[in-house]
């Protein structure tokens, strides 16, 4: 058997080994397929531009401050652990009322942004989270997904 065939055979065996012993979980494919439902090509994307953790960073009970910046929009977010979940308090600027849908691993949590741009969303499970704002003129702003 020549060298190339031998390598192909070894790689083929490796593929079978991992298909058998450590395959990607089926639920992972399902979750990845389902992620397409979040596609919103018309939304303006606000990216995470700053993250700060007050003194005691990483200790349980400390909150994090995240800033997302997009075209003409800023979202400041404070994430506070509360039991096994997170409470999100934040501000949308420029300030304007909006509806907010917080998307997370268990579905979504809906709330409102008040006239001064402030909002609160409780009971958000830890994991990947995204904020979807619908503004008064029906345009939408989304934050990049972040691990909260």
């Amino acid at each position: 058997m020549n060298e190339a065939n031998e390598v192909d055979e070894l790689l083929h065996e490796l593929r079978r080994a991992f298909e058998l012993l450590d395959p990607p979980p089926r639920a992972l494919f399902e979750a990845a397929r389902a992620a397409f439902a979040f596609r919103d090509p018309d939304a303006s994307l606000a990216e995470l531009t700053r993250e700060a953790t007050p003194a005691g960073a990483g200790l349980r009970g400390s909150s994090r401050l995240l800033t997302f910046t997009g075209d003409d929009v800023t979202v400041e977010l404070q994430v506070s652990p509360a039991g096994g979940v997170r409470v999100l308090t934040g501000r949308l600027s420029p300030a304007r009322p909006a509806t907010l849908c917080v998307r997370h691993s268990r579905g979504e949590t809906r709330t409102h942004v008040d006239e001064s741009g402030h909002f609160v969303a409780g009971d958000v499970p830890p994991g990947q989270v995204m904020l979807h704002f619908t503004l008064p003129d029906a345009t939408t702003v989304v934050t990049s997904w972040s691990r909260l």
Partner: protein
């Protein structure tokens, strides 16, 4: 009619941009094994590895319209996944707890009863004992990742993938012959 395997990654990206869920599903089917290989070779536990892979797909959903080279989506995904794995390692915040049993496959396939299972287990153990770079590279090659994707996942210059691949293969064969 062409099957999805004949369609280039770039075409799938273009179709997904137009809202074609089948094209998206084909991308997921094509690249999830590669992303899983990257996360697992990095040493992430099952649920944490899943988190890294899912985060990678969520990023693609948001950025698919902005990809400069749709044909290079595999390398783009490999880079994002590498960064997600890195973030999970350095994050002081534990990913969501999961029941380990969640992922257990209740029905082992017919292959698990086959006579060469010992050989495959030995192979997997040999690979796990290798340095991370070899482990990642060989596992990615096993799921047909391209050199560009491997160089993205490992932050290697494209030209050094070939030589390192040869060394890693030699090493693997060596440890199997022991």
């Amino acid at each position: 009619m062409r099957s999805e395997v004949d369609v280039t990654a770039g075409e799938l990206v273009v179709r997904a941009r137009e809202g074609d869920a089948e094209a998206w599903n084909a991308l997921v089917g094509r690249y999830t094994p590669m992303l899983w290989s990257i996360a697992r070779s990095r040493g992430l536990d099952g649920p944490v590895a899943e988190d890294a892979v899912q985060a990678t797909w969520l990023r693609l959903v948001q950025r698919i319209d902005a990809l400069w080279e749709p044909e290079s989506v595999g390398a783009w995904l490999a880079t994002v996944c590498r960064n997600e794995c890195h973030a999970l390692f350095s994050a002081p915040f534990a990913p969501p707890p999961r029941t380990p049993q969640d992922d257990a496959d209740p029905s082992p396939g017919p292959e698990s009863r086959s006579v060469d299972r010992d050989r495959l287990e030995r192979l997997a153990a040999a690979l796990r004992a290798m340095p991370e770079r070899c482990r990642t590279m060989l596992r990615m090659l096993a799921v047909s990742a391209t050199y560009t994707e491997i160089s993205a996942a490992l932050e290697l210059p494209a030209g050094s993938v070939g030589p390192i691949r040869a060394r890693c293969l030699r090493r693997l064969r060596g440890s199997l012959d022991e």
